[in-house]
Structures are given as C-alpha cells and as structure tokens.
Amino acid sequence: MKPDRSLTALVAVLAVILAATPFLPGWAMFLLRVSLCYGTVVLGMMLLMRTGVVSFGHGLYYCLGAYAAGLLDVHFKVADMAVMLVAAVAVTLATSAVLGLLLRKYRDIFFAMLSLAFSMILYGLLVKTSALGSSDGFNVSAKTLFGVTVAGTEYGRHATFIVTVVVAFLCALGMRAYLRSHTGRLAEAIRDNELRVEYMGASVRNVIHVNYMISAALAGLGGALAAVGIGHIDPEMAYWTTSGEFVFIGILAGTGSVLAPFLGALIFETIRSFAYEYSPNTWQMALGITMLLVIMFLPGGLWSLFGKLRRKAA
C-alpha cells in the first residue's frame, strides 16, 4: 500500500460525494447513505477479519447503537444527532469492554458462534419488550444537529447526509492511521500466527479485545447513523441475518483498504435493490449467485480487482 495514494483516494472520494450531494436524486442519496452506514460497520468487521476473528453477531452493536440513539429521542427527549452518535459509541464501547473479556479467549467458529448467541439474546430481549414496540420497533428522527433544527426541512436531509459522509470519512481516516500504528500492525501478525506474537512479547488477547471494542464502536456508530438516516429501528437489526450480511460485505469487499468496506457495501446494496426491482420473486437467488461468483473468482474480495488492474498497468 502506497501511503500517499490511499489518503489521496479517501480525500478524493469525500470531495466527489460532497460535490455531488446537491445533484443526487433522492433514492441514490439514500442508497449511498445506507451504504455508508453499512460500510462503517464493515470497517470494524474488516479490522476483526485482519485480526483473524469473525463475528457473526455484530448486529448486536449495530442494534445497540441504533437503540441508544432512538431511546435518547423517545425517553429523554434529546434528539440532537451529535449527542445520539456519541451515546451510541459510549454504549457499544461499554458493552464490548465487558463482552470482550469473554470473547477474547475465543477463536474461529467459536468466536463467531458466541457473538451470535449474544446478539440473539439482545434480539430476544427487544422482541419481548412491548414498551419499545417489540418486533415492530419505533420511529426515530434527529430533530437538531448541534442545536440547529433539521427535522422536516429540505436542508436537514442534506445536512444529516453530509454528517454521515463526514463521520464515515473520519472513521476511515482513523482506521487507516490505526492500521499503521504499532497495535494496528499486530492484527495481521495475530491472524498469521498467535504464538509468534506472544513470543515477541505482545498480548494477543489484549489486541483482540481492543480491536473488538473498536469494531463494536464502529458498528454502534453505523447503527446510530442508520437509525437517523432510515428513521426507523427494530430488533431485526440484531438478528443473525443482519450480522451475516456484514460478514458477507466484509468478504465481498476484501480487507485490502479502508475504502473497500464502503465500496463493498455500496455494491451489495445496489445489487440487492435492483434484484428486488427486477426479479421480485427470485432476488435471494440473485444474491446467492453473486455471492458465489465473488467467492470463486475474486477470493481476495472486490478490492483485489484494483490490485490486479494496477499490476497490469505497471
């Protein structure tokens, strides 16, 4: 990875999106927005994957973040988007700090399964809670942004969108810096061989714990952004199929770059949405086939395409 190029690419993407915002049709803006939310979650998944563990229960944090934001609105009458995002991060960090104590001892499929069990327990709890609308969930809206009213205004839709873009950008930037830091670089070393990392004097469990918390916070952030963007939250966000989608996007994207998760999410959402439109009866099949094609022909994820192109050009 050439350091300057990835930074340039990130800034360029940010600039393009921001410049295009006023001209985007509503559906495209929404598609982009959902992709950015998913991408933020998958960014955390990518960190975990680089560390060699995969969570089949990240819906837990996605959902927790969304409900943290939603409950602020409904129960505490605080509906400032900035506060919502901070709350989501705080709640998910605290939860993952505790659960991480357990999960850091697990690897492979067992890590995946225990995290799945936790997310399904949250799902069950929420479905059980009639006061929060049970499986129907409830509507959420950010009424202000740093104190300025945005609810129900035309510029509000754009303002919250731009916040989403900027937050996603900052997350990507932060992740890029983290991956270059000492702890960040340990991630891949752990995936390759834990024992060696231990022999070198680093604590594998601590690194996994920290990375797990980072990925949880990103999932929470993604959940809160999604709650505000979509305007509705429900326990489905913690269901295993949601978590499965994150894993799928992670694999689809590949772990090559911090831009990959966002690109992967955008492509996934686009395919899904057009499959819904053009083959309403067989969209699952369309998704399944895409999945197989990517796994078979692009084992390194979509991002590996870029690598191939670059190598050809060189």
Partner: protein, 298 residues
C-alpha cells in the same frame, strides 16, 4: 400427572426432533469442517419431497402404512441428488478456503435453494397430516400423545446408534474418523479423502432431508421452514461441540428439557431459552460440551 413428568416427556420428544435435524450438520462439520447453512434447505427439500411423494402415495389409495416408506424414500432421494450435486458441483472447488468463507458459500447455496423450492412448489403450503395421526395415540396420566412421537424418538435413537456403530465398528467408519483427526495424515496412509468427503456430504444431506421428511406430517410445509430450523440446528451443534455425535445428542436433550421446562413454568422465557443455554455452555466450555482435542501447531 405431575408437571415434572410432562416436562420430561415433552422435553424428550422435542429433543428427538432436535437431534434428527442437527445430526447431519454435525457429521458434515466433523469431517469436512464446513458449517453447512444449506442444511436448512436440505431439510426443507426433504419436507417438500416427502409431502409430495407420500401425499401422492396416499392420494393413490395405496396402503397408508407405505407412506412412511415413501417419506424415507423421499429423503434418500433428496440426499442422493442434492448431496452429490452440491459437493461435486460446488464445494470441492472451495476446500482449503477459510471456514468463514465456507459458511458464506453454503449460505449462498441456501439462498439459491430457497428460491428454487419456491419456483418448484410455489408458496402455498403442502400438508401431509395423515401419517401423524394414523398410528393412534397413547396416554400418560391425563396427557395424550400421538404414537408418531415415539416414532420420532425411535428414529433419533436409531440414527444415533447406527452412526455410532458405523463410525466405531466398521472399517469405512474408522477411515472417516482418521480423516476427522488429521486430513493430511489420512491422505498419506492412502485414504481417499475426496471420496470420504463426497460420501459424508451425501449422507449428511440425506440426514438433513430425513429430518425434514419426518417433520413434514406435523407442520405446514411452506417457504421459510428451512431458515427457522437451521438456527436451532446450529445452536444444538455448537452447544454439543462442533462435529461431536454424542455432543449433539446431549445438547439436544439439554435444550429440549430446558425449553419444555420454560414452557411449563415460565413461558415468557421460551424465546431466549436456547440462546441462554448456548451462551452459558460456551462460556463454561468454550468449544462446547464435547470437543475433539486438537494438535497444537506452531
């Protein structure tokens, strides 16, 4: 009758069902290290085929008892067709990939099969109620149970014993166990690992379909049944220790009893029962109740 007795009977019946739907999954994982989500579709295919075949049998007015044979035949047929097609046509190109990637591969197969089932059978449910009530019922205290529940119990015990016997007492089974423990070593001593995988997946598929076929008479066979079942089967297999046959049996009994107890004493908790058991067991025994010792590789 005491409520406790009811809990035990209900729990054991439910356990039998759980074991039947989970046993194929654990077999495939044990040998091939593939957590096969498509197991849910195989279950659904088994249920649909059994409902069609046995339904046809009954409609023709043949001997009603023959419908049980038709159900089993349907399961065998599904296994013999779908197993080889999925394994030879797709999975064998994927061996050696990461376990998580393999989960996604089977998830993709699951999605494709879900829609295929819909294209073949439509969305209207199929019914095969007759075999459920045909054998009459028995009474324990003041509770009536269809004899079919005993069939379920017998089938679970039978499948469990048969598989155990094959694995521990026959040459082929021992070869399988060798592959489970060390694929490379087994290959080095001349075991045809590809063949073992092929046979295992086919048998696993057959067991998945068998679970569906046996369930068909008690449910409405309709889209989505696979998705509901696979999560349960997963939980049982994970609790028991992935790949362990006795583990799956014990886990099925545990989950069955816990759920029956929840329903009888605290119906509110039924929703979480299985995930609580799963989280609790994994926290205490990270690899499930029974797990194979793994060689430490540096």
């Amino acid at each position: 009758m005491g409520q406790l007795l009811a809990v035990v009977i209900d729990g054991l019946i439910y356990s039998s069902w759980l074991f039947i739907i989970a046993v194929g999954l654990t077999l495939i994982y044990g040998v091939m290290k593939i957590l096969n989500i498509a197991h849910g579709s195989l279950y659904a295919l088994g249920a649909y085929s059994a409902a069609s075949l046995a339904g046809y049998w009954l409609d023709q007015g043949y001997a009603p008892l023959g419908s049980y044979a038709a159900m089993v035949a349907a399961a065998v047929l599904v296994g013999l067709v779908a197993g080889p097609v999925i394994e030879r046509g797709l999975l064998r190109f994927m061996y050696g990939k990461d376990e998580i990637v393999l989960v996604l591969v089977t998830y993709a197969v699951f999605l494709i099969l879900e829609d295929m089932i819909k294209l073949v059978w439509g969305v209207d449910p199929l019914f095969l109620a007759q075999p459920y009530g045909m054998l009459g019922s028995f009474t324990v205290g003041n509770l009536t149970y269809p004899v079919y529940n005993l069939v379920l119990f017998g089938a679970a015990v039978g499948v469990g014993l048969l598989l155990t016997w094959v694995l521990t007492r026959t040459r082929k089974g021992k070869m399988l166990v060798a592959v489970i423990h060390d694929r490379e070593m087994a290959s080095a001593v001349g075991i045809n690992v590809g063949m073992v995988y092929f046979v295992t997946f086919t048998v696993g598929a057959m067991l998945g379909a068998f679970g569906g076929a046996l369930t068909a008479p008690m449910i409405s066979v309709q889209p989505g049944i696979g998705a509901e079942t696979i999560v349960l089967a997963f939980a049982v297999v994970v609790i028991g220790g992935l790949g362990s046959l006795p583990g799956a049996a014990l886990a099925a009994v545990l989950v069955g009893l816990v759920r029956a107890a929840a329903v009888h004493y605290q119906p509110e908790l039924d929703l979480f029962a299985i995930y609580f058991v799963m989280a609790a067991v994994l926290i205490m025994r990270p690899k499930g109740l029974f797990s194979l010792q793994e060689a430490r590789k540096i």
